[in-house]
């Protein structure tokens, strides 16, 4: 051991310097760009808006009682619901996609993965506007369908909650496919062979071997989809036609329109709290799922 050769104190100092050098930049970054803003958000929630906007520094818990109002809880519930449905659909669509990609020959896998992330090369807003052009009542799809005589009146494809879910699903599906792919791809093929050798049919192998072992990847994917869906405000506005309000819109409007930073901060803090709970649940579930496997 090196500790026997160098004096212990010098070694400790060396180790400390080494740690600071490696951890310092990261910690500094987190402190400045995460802890301080979070502390500000937390601080603002205790004050209230002045008559002309701005912040009046009189401490009270008014913002919290205001959130408890049915209106805002309703918006949060709608957001959780929309994000939840989006996540579920993403899982149902993403799992088979990731599974199939993992079965492809190695060269084709890369091609498939590039295709999955390809949409990210185009600006998110432009892709969302493209949906409007496709789906609106005078859009390409409706025109084609009425032109072919399949429908008489244009379908109402836009400006509904369904359109919002569709837009979110489209935007975040790759975030489900990628972690799932990495979980499925990592799976030792011998485990499945063993299952088959022991007489399990493919369906049984899937339910008893593949699925449980890839669930942590699925959970990661779910978090990756749920979190940005919950906070999104562009899609409800563009594809929802402003007829659906999600908590992201509410927060944006409090900051940019109502100039009520304290209340906007309170809403933001509640969303953060929800997401922290979710991440804790995910970490706990992932640990439970991997416990008892022979990973150790």
């Amino acid at each position: 051991m090196s500790a026997t050769r160098t004096p212990p104190r010098a070694a400790r100092r060396e180790r400390l310097v080494g740690r600071l050098a490696t951890l310092g930049p990261g910690l500094g970054y987190l402190t400045v760009f995460m802890l301080v803003p979070l502390a500000l958000v937390l601080g603002y929630t205790l004050f209230h808006r002045g008559r002309f906007g701005g912040i009046v520094y009189e401490a009270s818990a008014d913002n919290y009682t205001r959130v408890a109002d049915g209106l805002y809880l309703g918006v949060i519930w709608t957001s959780v619901k929309i994000a939840g449905i989006t996540t579920l659909l993403a899982l149902l669509l993403g799992y088979p996609t990731a599974y199939l990609i993992a079965q492809l020959p190695r060269a084709w896998r890369t091609v498939a993965l590039v295709l999955v992330v390809l949409p990210f090369w185009t600006n998110f807003l432009i892709r969302t506007y493209a949906w409007i052009i496709l789906l609106n009542s005078e859009g390409i799809i409706n025109r084609a369908l009425t032109g072919l005589g399949i429908i008489q009146r244009p379908l109402e494809l836009l400006y509904t909650q369904g359109a919002v879910v569709g837009g979110l699903l489209y935007a975040y599906l790759p975030l489900m496919v990628l972690p799932l792919y990495s979980a499925i791809e990592r799976l030792d093929p011998q485990l499945r062979e063993a299952s088959a050798n022991l007489g399990a049919r493919p369906a049984r192998t899937f339910w008893s071997v593949t699925l449980p072992l890839t669930l942590p990847g699925a959970l990661t994917g779910c978090v990756f989809v749920f979190v940005p869906s919950l906070g999104n405000f562009v899609i409800p506005e563009l594809l929802g036609g402003g007829r659906t309000v999600m908590v992201g819109n509410l927060i944006r409007d409090q900051f940019l329109k109502a100039r009520d930073w304290p209340f906007g901060s309170t809403l933001a803090l509640i969303v953060i709290a929800l997401l922290v709970l979710l991440l804790m649940a995910q970490a706990w579930a992932a640990r439970r799922l991997t416990d008892g496997t022979d990973r150790a």
């Binding site: 808006r49 002045g50 008559r51 002309f52 906007g53 701005g54 912040i55 009046v56 520094y57 009189e58 401490a59 209106l71 309703g74 918006v75 709608t78 609106n136 009542s137 005078e138 859009g139 109402e156 836009l158 400006y159 036609g241 402003g242 007829r243 659906t244 309000v245 819109n249 509410l250 409007d253 940019l256 329109k257 109502a258 100039r259 009520d260």
Partner: protein, 370 residues
Amino acid sequence: MLLFSSSRRAAGPAIIAAGLVLAMTACGGGGADGRAAGPDTLDPNADLSKQKLTVSNWDGYMPEDLPEKFKAAKGPTVTVTKHATNEEIMAKLTAGGDSHIDVAFVSGQFAQALNEQGLLEPIHADLVPNLKNLYPEAGQLAFDKGNKFSVPYTWGTTGLCYRTDLTGYTPDSWEDLLTPKPQLAKKVTMMATERWLMLPAEKSLGFSANTTDAKQLEQVKQKLLAAKKTLLAYDDTTFGDRLKSGEAALVEAWDGWCPTDDPKIKFVVPKEGSDLWVDTMVILKTSKNKEAAHAFINYILDADNHSWAADNILYKVPNAAAMAKVDAKVLETHPQLKMAPADLLKNEVPVDLGDAAPTYTRIATEVSAG
């Protein structure tokens, strides 16, 4: 107000801030014209080439080459910063301390709110001789009668913009939007910004566009919730395109945004009346270049410069001399530009809602979430 402006810089401690609020309430209407601290004494013969201006305006709201031309003509260097919304520039101007902005373009009710906070320099009329170009009506705007602290830059109204071939009749009422005929269901859009979201229902019910009465606002909310069922979308920006594509047949629109250059599209101010919105120019009290700021406003009010806004943004300008110079072709394709100032003034000027502002925000949220 002196106490107010000097303590603004120490915005942190709770006690001072609380005192601030008291001071503001105490000043109330008394300090409302912002003169408590007294206007600066300005030198009409100041050497403008030594002054530098920072002007904050909406993108594309004045000619790109205006700063160069102004420098060539009058001397001061102008830096233009841009804001996307009134709220954005308000946040900058009210953050405390010196925003280093000399001249800002804001809507009338926001100019009023800035002035009530004592942040504006009164307009020194003697330094703005081109004020004579303005229509007399431009001095009768509810948020600032007599143009004491703001100079109107553009003004207009809000109405119905529609496709004659798709409506099949001539709409003339806010009810055409709120309770559309069956063939127009899901073919109408309203604006999402709260004052304009509320306007059609307020006017249709015969209320003021500035009402703060709780019972009236409840009726407005119910009407808007009912109207949501037949609405295609809330839209502040792309309603003109929706009309052109035929996705919408009838939309709530600002006069200057209604694409009447398309012969099938027409604009009408509903019979129940509408608003008279005004975008103004104001000079900040913190400005150290107030002579140049006045010269800048005066330069804008020059007929040739001011008519640019009507020709290019298609907004009316409250400047008689400038309106006389507007391109005849533009007037023909955009007849809304020809509305007489007296007719425009029959509509209601939005004023700052003060303590009722959060109520409007809440109703807007209830309607869009409902």
